[in-house]
């Protein structure tokens, strides 16, 4: 499978202490471990198990995912923006790979 590509949607700027909505989507099969291949062998589980969102190094939101999360996991959540800074998003794969994405926001 190709490298998962994260897509994040958040406003470029916000008022101080404004609560913004963040939407994230990442391409990943989220193989549940329940499916079987043509020969009847179970396909091993391989999912993204953790998602975290930080703002300037402070935790904002995180999620522990189970195999019941759909392929291409999508999250929509809110964040308070006290100052200009950087949102950092990371997804952790079962195999240990960490996919990160950063996006800046400016407080007007």
């Amino acid at each position: 499978m190709s490298t998962p590509k994260p897509r994040v949607k958040l406003p470029k700027s916000a008022a101080k202490d404004e609560i913004i909505t963040i939407k994230t989507l990442i391409s990943h099969d989220m193989e549940s471990g329940q499916r079987k291949d043509k020969d009847g062998n179970a396909i091993p589980r391989k999912i993204l198990n953790t998602f975290t969102c930080e703002f300037n190094g402070q935790a904002v939101f995180s999620c522990n995912m189970e195999p019941a999360i759909s392929a291409n996991p999508y999250f929509e959540f809110n964040a308070r923006v006290p100052e200009s800074g950087t949102f950092k998003f990371s997804w952790v794969d079962d195999d240990g790979t960490v996919i990160t994405h950063e996006q800046d926001i400016e407080v007007k």
Partner: protein, 150 residues
Amino acid sequence: MTLTRRQALVAGAGAVVATALPFGMPAFASEEDTQKHIMEFTGGKTPEAGKITLDAPEIAENGNTVPIGVTVDSPMTADSYVESVILLADGNPSPGVATFNFTPMSGTAAATTRMRLAKTQNVVAVAKMNDGSVFMDQKQIKVTIGGCGG
């Protein structure tokens, strides 16, 4: 229908589990598991109804991707905020779906994702506040095409 059920839940605050039974769900093997997960999450406390709202479709045509959202009524300040919300589905091979962890930086305790549902079943959301109190909401989702395995 949703409204009546919610009213019923509020009315039967202490007896959430008992109120859930008349909805005609046969006992799934993992319904006990779900209870076990709830107790593990709450540390043995029985969650009360209220404060948390589970937003999900009544009928999901495709069980592979069912939009599901939770909102918890909380000021989200450093003194009073929602620590985490656990989502469970009692008819899946394993009841765990996701755990959302919030902080006062979240602004509001609301999150939406997409989940898999193997068949028609109850989805339960339990919220844990920073003071240790727990609240839950549940909803039955009818699934036309299941989303596990194949």
